[in-house]
């Protein structure tokens, strides 16, 4: 027997023994219980939780004034948004100042925001309910005319709403959930029913389609781009689609994602009738995902590759990165402007910005977004320096014990260097 064969055999025997010993008695039950029920916490988790609580208490004791000041936003009175004309069944939702004692919007969970400018925007929300249900039935659309300081309900629907996207100065398209199997992330939900407004949210039209779509990005009252796929399995055979009849029918467009390297269309963002971006992604693993970003400036007739990362060819060879798109972050969502400024947010990938149409990306908002502590669930860029993000907090966020873990709406006026908490909701 050759020495190398003997060595390999011994190595395999050792690995065999090592894997056989994996997991002591009850290991699988402990893992499953912790992952699915949150019970039987692992000792190290308990230690980490204890440390997290201690840090939270220390923070609260040491800096109450700082935290209080941080949470106070420059809110005005409770006047309804300018020009708001709620429908008959709508009721105003008064908002209290954001302080540590009286957060507004109890029993309301915002899931998406979209602004036309720094003052006017829409928010879609779902009523809070038993979290084990995953998706709660019923949805609300609210409108603001003062940069998110106050909101007024403009429509209620029986279905859950998952996303809102704006275009021009008064157009917005809202997506209804295709069913409770659409998953936790709004970006993954496929919608067969859309709600459209062309007058800033005053009147709404319900449109149903035979083609379930996600990542709807309108450019006008009649035209929008989206990604179509199979319900509950977005990604498999997904393809960019375009509608020119207000979402009733969708026509497939050429899929541009590089063939043979495992990426498929995931999200689109159109800033005008001609300027748009398509994000292609591969299978997500932990906090990394291969990505490829394309742009068009002629309504999809031709596309240019802006950046790509973390790709490998069918034979396993790494594909050279293009641009500075980060491999870290799953399920990216885009919000770009025609001048090439844009934001991208991703699960466990934070918020990043580009100013050259998607070639170079830099992380922004590190002072307000920390992976596994809080996360961006919606973002709306309205100018080179102005934008809004909706963030959620996890239980491990040190601010939770005293200030609550509810979603918050933040705004920036300096490209993401500093942020102001505009509004907040109870978890």
């Amino acid at each position: 027997m050759m020495p190398s064969e003997s060595f390999e055999q011994r190595l395999r025997a050792y690995l065999d023994q090592r894997t056989l010993n994996a997991g002591g008695p009850g290991a699988i039950d402990r893992v499953m219980a912790t992952a699915f029920d949150g019970r039987a916490r692992h000792p190290s988790r308990r230690l980490f939780a204890a440390i997290a609580v201690a840090v939270a208490v220390a923070l609260v004791v040491a800096t109450p004034i700082t935290v209080l000041l941080l949470r106070q936003s420059p809110r005005g009175t409770l006047a309804p948004a300018t020009g708001v004309s709620p429908s008959a069944h709508a009721t105003p939702t008064p908002s209290a100042p954001v302080t540590s004692t009286g957060p507004p919007h109890v029993n309301l969970v915002p899931v998406g925001v979209a602004f036309w400018d720094t003052q006017r925007g829409l928010l879609v929300a779902t009523p809070a309910c038993d979290s084990s249900a995953g998706v709660c039935p019923g949805g609300l659309i609210e409108r603001t005319g003062n940069g998110g300081k106050t909101w007024l309900v403009v429509d209620r629907v029986s279905a859950s709403l998952t996303a809102v996207a704006s275009a021009g100065s008064d157009v917005a398209w809202v997506s209804e959930a295709g069913g409770s199997s659409c998953g936790a992330g709004a970006g993954s939900c496929l919608a067969s029913t859309l709600l459209l407004t062309a007058d800033g949210g005053t009147h709404w039209t319900v449109v149903s389609s035979l083609t379930p779509v996600a990542s709807v990005s309108p450019v006008s009252r009649t035209t929008a781009w989206a990604v179509a796929g199979l319900p509950g399995s977005l990604g498999l055979g997904t393809i960019p689609v375009r509608s020119s009849d207000g979402g009733r029918t969708w026509q497939p467009r050429a899929a541009l994602c590089s063939p043979g390297i495992g990426v498929t269309p995931w999200a689109v963002s159109f800033a005008s009738a001609v300027d748009g971006w398509l994000m292609c992604t591969g299978v997500a693993a932990t906090d990394m995902q291969s990505k490829e970003l394309w742009s068009t400036h002629d309504d999809g007739a031709t596309w240019q590759l802006e950046s790509q990362t973390c790709l490998s060819s069918a034979n396993g060879q790494a594909v050279r990165d293009v641009g500075s798109l980060s491999c870290v972050g799953d399920y990216p969502t885009l919000s770009l402007l025609s001048d090439g400024h844009g934001w991208m947010y991703a699960e466990r990938g934070g918020l990043s910005a580009t100013s050259d149409g998607g070639q170079k990306w830099t992380q922004i908002g590190a002072n307000v977004v920390t992976n596994d502590v809080n996360a961006v669930i919606s973002a709306s860029l309205v100018g080179d320096m102005n934008g809004f993000v909706l963030i959620t907090h996890s239980e491990s966020d040190p601010v939770c014990p005293t200030l609550g873990c509810g979603p918050e709406l933040l705004s920036t006026q300096d490209g993401g260097r500093t942020w102001t908490i505009v509004d907040s909701w109870v978890a």
Binding site: V31, C129, S132, G183
Partner: protein
């Protein structure tokens, strides 16, 4: 109320299905994690993270036939980066390797343990995936999220170290 009940029922059914599949996969994932992180305690932590990550993205898996590879990939990457996450949390725990409890330092397998535990996470991962699970080096690199050349380097260095410690001629 009816809609809420239906939503809960549908969600519950979906969750039961996922839980059953993940429970079947758990032993395999525990074995992979245990080899890479070197501690049963940490391996359980890793697989918990894998379960949570898998459940979080359950509906986004496009091809159910690739579920095994998908879970393996998450598990390998979570195992390789597990130590880094702990360090980033300033969490200092004694690493308890319960396989070594009661083992004599003169036993041959202890030598293998010492030699193997001295390897980096990436080196342990590529050795286990290549020699025990039979993945090609290109497949190893995809599972680990690194370039094929990096996987080859990790394997070469790992084997050199193991052979040196085990006094095995190359």
């Amino acid at each position: 109320m009816l809609m809420t009940s239906m939503a809960i029922a549908e969600e519950g059914s979906r969750r039961n299905e996922a839980e059953a599949i993940l429970r079947l996969e758990a032993p395999r994932l525990l074995a992979i994690a245990s080899v890479i992180v070197g501690s049963s305690t940490d391996a359980e932590d890793v697989v918990q993270e894998v379960m949570i990550a898998a459940w979080r993205a359950w509906d986004r898996l496009r091809d159910p036939a690739s579920r095994d590879a998908w879970l393996t990939r998450i598990c390998v990457r979570e195992s390789v980066h597990h130590g880094q996450k702990l360090r980033s949390r300033w969490l200092h725990e004694d690493i308890i390797n319960d396989r070594n409890v009661g083992a004599s330092p003169l036993e041959p397998e202890t030598n293998w343990d010492g030699a193997f535990d001295a390897l980096s996470r990436q080196q342990r991962a590529v050795v286990a995936l290549h020699f025990y699970y039979g993945y090609t080096l290109d497949e190893c690199s995809r599972l680990m999220g690194c370039r094929p050349g990096s996987a080859r380097q990790h394997l070469a260095r790992a084997l050199r170290h193991l052979r040196e410690v085990m006094n095995d001629a190359v």
